[in-house]
Symmetry: C2
Subunit: 368 residues, 2 copies
């Protein structure tokens, strides 16, 4: 009952990574990114700390905070003999641990984009060899979800849809935006989520057309467009949903704005199927906004992949020519924000399947 | 009412930075760290995105996500003429913007430890000059809180103490650990906080001696030591508190463990005053645990500074010879975790003042 690991097949993920490392002639992979590390360890790290994973063909060393050592050894699948408290000089410690093996390390895979400068320097100080970006390999492994991952994400999306329904039901005139998202945060945990996938926000009236992206102490009013964007983490996997609604009667302009956003979403969703390029989904949404004369108010992408991260491949945006394939999970969320009128966005999560897609989020999409 | 900025004097902070830059002959400072950027802009960034600040003696350029541009221009103190959407190549764009000035840039201050490799490369590609770590300057500016910051932190700590009291009152046999922290998260926002400063956790029984550091679905029971560690963000500033309690009757061993932890905290708190070294506070806690015969169960630091970050200077730990000074805010939280018995930790926030310290957190510290 003191579970702090997810239920996935981590050894088989390590096996796949090792095959890809061999293919790319990478002798050692060093991972610092929380989601990459969790992908292999299943271990949920406290938000204030980090851990490090070193992987070779023959070895796997997991460096964890001193405070977590006992819990990791009790609950994580990685053998106790392979876990160590994070040392002063991780790369040196790793070299010492694998001893002879270290001489054969010619190429190291790192998270080139996001690795901290100090951590990179630590690797460079200890290994005089070629560095290679391992993130494309990680992305390729994580982008198409297995049946088990799909089931997990499906459950999370369903729980999230329930929370959205409850929050919309709760919304009343004069309630603070913050009150709505405070209730959502509580519900995320009580329905079985781990936490939120991003700080949820409700934005109403002017806040919706700015758009504000944080909940404030502003009180929601009748006749305002209200957007709620939220997501929870379900056994490590992120979910995401947005709804737009009005208390009372929307104006003509608000109705038109919402109709355009919802229509763009519906048409873009139809494009979500195997073989379609990511950018094509975005182009479709843009096409609809052009018909409505709203394309200048559409400032963002149409959607993004979801998995251990809230934003990961594939990205449904201009210039993204990656082809959709079964097992990918994406949001579709074209949005428009017009000064004096409001913001409008409907966001759902879709799983790409052989003959199209499966919609993972539900919850009423109606404006009123 | 749609406030998304804190109420501090940001231009005067910029002025101080510029003086320190002059002193260290730094011509340009580039900041990516959320807290450093917020320190100068006052702008609260959505958790999924980032922004970048470039500062010279004569200029200040703020790069923000496209989606935030309008809101930043409306609410942030930085003039609209100085804010831009984050470009593909930020260092290049900055160079173009300042034009002639860029020729005189000989030394650039960066966050050497934590800057992403790709971001560092972007700076190195555009500027062929010396790089210098600017974090020590940032730390020196942020470590002693101004009266306004102190007032803010005092308010936050008071709100947090109220939440802790409510949560302890709420605790009942058979309640899930997660339920307790879910309620806390909701309360953080409803009492006026922005969000949590770290994922709050309740840990009971075995989870408390591991120690677990995440709330689980385990239900709390009578006769178990229960630790709750939580903090909220109040207008950007972090707070932090821990309490340990038992429902029903504690065992002799539990009483003894708690008494040692509480005694160590009380004695360590007495050391928190100007002129005392940070490590001395830690040594004092350790001394008490030695008297009780528990020092082997004390696996962490005694405390840490609090400000825009939840963990910042000064760190009350072995080898930290920094002297405490008025205006510093620290936690004091020695803790011990013994298999089969439980964990015990009492954590409070203290403000160092001329003649000692002011206790910022309250809430009942009793075991039962």
């Amino acid at each position: 009952m003191s579970k702090n690991t997810d239920g996935f097949d981590h050894p088989s993920r390590i096996k796949t990574l090792r095959e890809k490392m061999e293919e790319h002639k990478i002798d050692l992979t060093v991972l610092y990114e929380r989601e990459n590390v969790r992908y292999f360890t299943g271990w949920r790290q406290n938000t204030t700390s980090f851990s490090i994973l070193f992987i070779t063909q023959d070895d796997l060393i997991y460096f964890v905070p001193k405070l977590d050592k006992k819990a990791v050894d009790k609950e994580c699948w990685i053998p106790t003999s392979k876990t160590y408290v994070i040392p002063e000089d991780p790369a040196k410690k790793f070299k010492d641990l694998i001893d002879n093996e270290s001489e054969t390390i010619q190429k190291i895979g790192i998270e080139s984009e996001t690795i901290f400068n100090s951590r990179l320097k630590n690797i460079e100080k200890n290994f005089d060899c070629e560095l290679s970006d391992v993130q494309p390999i990680m992305n390729s492994m994580r982008i198409r979800k297995t049946k088990e991952e799909q089931n997990n994400i499906r459950e999370g999306a369903s729980a999230l849809s329930g929370v959205m329904t409850d929050i919309i039901d709760m919304a009343q005139e004069d309630m603070m935006e913050k009150k709505l998202t405070a209730e959502a945060k509580k519900l995320f945990d009580t329905v079985g989520g781990e936490t939120y996938s991003f700080e949820p926000f409700a934005m109403s009236g002017e806040n919706s057309w700015l758009p504000h992206r944080t909940s404030t102490e502003k009180r929601i009013q009748k006749g305002e467009l209200i957007l709620i964007d939220m997501g929870l983490i379900w056994e490590g996997y992120a979910t995401d949903i947005t709804r737009t609604f009005v208390l009372g009667e929307p104006s003509e302009q608000q109705r038109d704005l919402f109709e355009a956003a919802y229509e763009a979403q519906k048409e873009a969703k139809k494009m979500v199927k195997p073989g379609v390029k990511a950018e094509t989904v975005h182009e479709k949404a843009n096409e609809i906004f052009e018909e409505y004369g709203y394309s200048e108010y559409f400032p963002h992408l149409t959607g993004h992949g979801l998995g251990l991260e809230t934003h990961e491949d594939p990205i449904l945006d201009k210039g993204q020519d990656i082809e959709l394939k079964p097992g990918m999970v994406v949001t579709v969320e074209p949005g428009i924000y017009k000064e004096g009128v409001g913001g409008a966005r409907v966001e759902d999560m879709l799983l790409v399947i052989e003959d199209g897609h499966e919609e993972l989020t539900t919850a009423n999409r109606m404006l009123v």
